[in-house]
C-alpha cells in the first residue's frame, strides 16, 4: 500500500484500512452522546443500540430522550431540514414527486397517531437456548404520539399504477464498507395506504430527535419497528417485490411458528419463510422486577402494559398460583388500537413465600400468549407469558 511504503512508520495495510474506515465513520456518525449512557441500557455504541430501563414504561407515552435507539448501520448523517427532500418514484408511480418539509407540512392533512414502536428482537436475550444478535431485554420498545402526513395521501398525489405491489423505503443512514447492503425495507401497498401509516416528523408534540430519525421517519403502526425507516429520504413504488438483503434474507421466520401473522405480507412469503411484520400479542409488568422483595399483608398494585398488532387487547389476566387460576386486570385508557394499553392489578400477599406472578394478554382476535417462547434461530417475537418471582417477607 502506497502510504505505508513511503511513510517512515511501517504499518500493515489492514491496520491502515481499519483505522481509516473507523475514522470516517466516527466523523460522519457524530459519535455517541454521553447522555445515552445515563438514560439507557447500552447494547452497543456502534451502531447505536440502546434500550429503555423498565421504570420508564410506567408512563403511557415514552419520553423522546428515553426512547429506545436501534441502528442497523453506523453512519448516521445529521440532516439540515431545510435541505431535506422526500423523493417518491419507482416503476409503479404515475408521476414522481419530490417534497420538502414545508410542502409536507402545508400541502397535506396533518394527523397524529398514538403507536407502539417495537423491535422484532425485543426480549431476544430471554430465549433459552440463547440466540445470537442484539441481546435486548424488554426495553426495545416505546409508545408515542406520532404526528405527520399519511403516506397514503402522498401516494394518491403521485398516483399509483394498478401493477404496484410494494413501497420500498430508504433512509439516509449508510454503511461504512462498500459491500454492506444499504438498509432498505418495503411494505405492501395495502399497508402503505392504511390511514395510520405516516411520514412522521414529530414525537409526543416535538420534532423527532436525531436518535429517532430527524427530520422524518416512516411510522407503520401495528408492525415491528424495522419498517419504521428513520431519516427517510426515498420511497419507491414497486411493481415487483423488493429483493434486497434486508427483505429477502434478514428479518424472516420459519413458516408455521406464528400462523396468525402469516398473511400480513404475502408478496414476501416464500415456501419456507415469511417476513416478520405484524407485532405479536404480548405484555410486560413495568413496576415490579423478578427477585423484588415485597411485604406480607401490604397491598400491591401491579402495573404493566399489553399490546398487539392493532386488533386491540381483549383482556389481561394475572395468576398468582402457578397458572391454576387467572383473574382479570383493570385496563387503563384506550387511546387507540396501535398504542399499548396499561393494566393494573391489586392484591395483598397473605403468606411469606416465594410468589410467582404471571401475566397474560389476549387480543380481540383471540390470540393469547404461549406459556413458553416460540424458539426461532433469529430470536424474534418473544411473547412468552411473563413470570415474576416476588419474595414476600
Amino acid at each position: 500500500m502506497r502510504f505505508s511504503e513511503r511513510a517512515q512508520v511501517r504499518f500493515p495495510s489492514w491496520i491502515v484500512l481499519s483505522f481509516f474506515f473507523t475514522s470516517i465513520s466516527a466523523f460522519a456518525g457524530g459519535g455517541v452522546s454521553k447522555n445515552f449512557e445515563r438514560d439507557f441500557i447500552r447494547r452497543s455504541d456502534r451502531p447505536e443500540n440502546y434500550e429503555t430501563p423498565l421504570e420508564v414504561f410506567n408512563q403511557l407515552y415514552t419520553p423522546a430522550n428515553r426512547f429506545f435507539v436501534r441502528s442497523h448501520l453506523p453512519v448516521i448523517p445529521e440532516i439540515d431540514v431545510r435541505e431535506w427532500k422526500l423523493e417518491l418514484g419507482g416503476p409503479g408511480v404515475e408521476k414522481p414527486i419530490i417534497l420538502s418539509m414545508d410542502e409536507l407540512k402545508t400541502q397535506f392533512e396533518q394527523v397524529e397517531v398514538p403507536a407502539l414502536a417495537l423491535c422484532a428482537g425485543n426480549r431476544r436475550a430471554q430465549f433459552d437456548p440463547r440466540v445470537p444478535g442484539v441481546q435486548w431485554e424488554s426495553g426495545a420498545m416505546g409508545n408515542a404520539r406520532w404526528k405527520g402526513v399519511r403516506l397514503g395521501d402522498i401516494l394518491k398525489r403521485a398516483g399509483v399504477k394498478k401493477e404496484a405491489v410494494e413501497i420500498s423505503m430508504n433512509g439516509a443512514d449508510q454503511p461504512v464498507l462498500p459491500g454492506t447492503p444499504d438498509f432498505i425495507k418495503s411494505i405492501p401497498l395495502s399497508k402503505a395506504m392504511d390511514e395510520s401509516t405516516l411520514i412522521a416528523y414529530e414525537l409526543n408534540g416535538q420534532p423527532l430527535p436525531q436518535s429517532q430519525g430527524y427530520p422524518a421517519r416512516v411510522v407503520v403502526p401495528g408492525w415491528v419497528a424495522t419498517y419504521w425507516m428513520k431519516q427517510v429520504v426515498s420511497l419507491q413504488v414497486l411493481t415487483q417485490p423488493e429483493e434486497g438483503y434486508w427483505m429477502k434474507k434478514a428479518y424472516r421466520l420459519q413458516k408455521g411458528l406464528f400462523p396468525s401473522l402469516e398473511r400480513a405480507f404475502e408478496s414476501q412469503n416464500n415456501e419456507a419463510q415469511v417476513p416478520v411484520a405484524e407485532i405479536v400479542v404480548n405484555s410486560l409488568v413495568t413496576n415490579l422486577k423478578s427477585g423484588q422483595k415485597v411485604q406480607v399483608d401490604r397491598p400491591i398494585e401491579v402495573q404493566g402494559v399489553a399490546w398487539d398488532g392493532g386488533h386491540g387487547i381483549q383482556k389481561v389476566e394475572v395468576s398468582l398460583d402457578g397458572v391454576s387460576t387467572w383473574a382479570s386486570a383493570r385496563m387503563g385508557q384506550d387511546v387507540g388500537r396501535f398504542s399499548w394499553r396499561q393494566f393494573f392489578y391489586d392484591f395483598t400477599p397473605q403468606k411469606k413465600e416465594l410468589l410467582s406472578l404471571m401475566v397474560r394478554a389476549t387480543n380481540l382476535k383471540g390470540d393469547t400468549q404461549p406459556s413458553g417462547t416460540v424458539h426461532n434461530a433469529s430470536g424474534y417475537h418473544n411473547n412468552a407469558t411473563q413470570s415474576i418471582d416476588l419474595i414476600v417477607n
Binding site: 502510504f3 484500512l17 453506523p74 440463547r130 444478535g133 464498507l177
Partner: protein, 108 residues
Amino acid sequence: MKPPVCRSVAFQNLFFFTVFSQGYQAFASYTRDLVVAPGHEKVLGYCSICQSTDYIFMNADALDQKGWDAVVTKMIKVYGAPVPDSDREMLIQYLTVHYSKTSRTVQK
C-alpha cells in the same frame, strides 16, 4: 489518482497520525478491551471497521465455534468485511477460545 500527501514524508506522517488518533478516539472509553492474545489485533482491526467490541461480549453466551464460524462468514460474505482467507480462521479461533459459550477468558 495520486494522493497529494505523498509529496513529503513529514506531511504523510502527520496525515497518518491524524487518521490514527481519530480512529482511536472512535472507541468509546467505556467499551471493554478484548483479551490480549494471539489474534486480538486482527479481530479488533477488522471488526471495529463497522461496529464496537460490544457485539463480541454480548454474543459470547450464544455462540460456539460453529456459531462464530457462521457469524464471521456472514460478516465477510454478506456485509463485505475485507478479511482475506488467510485471516478468517484466526478470527474464528480467537473468538471461540476467548468469547464462546464453551470457552471464555476472563479479563482481569
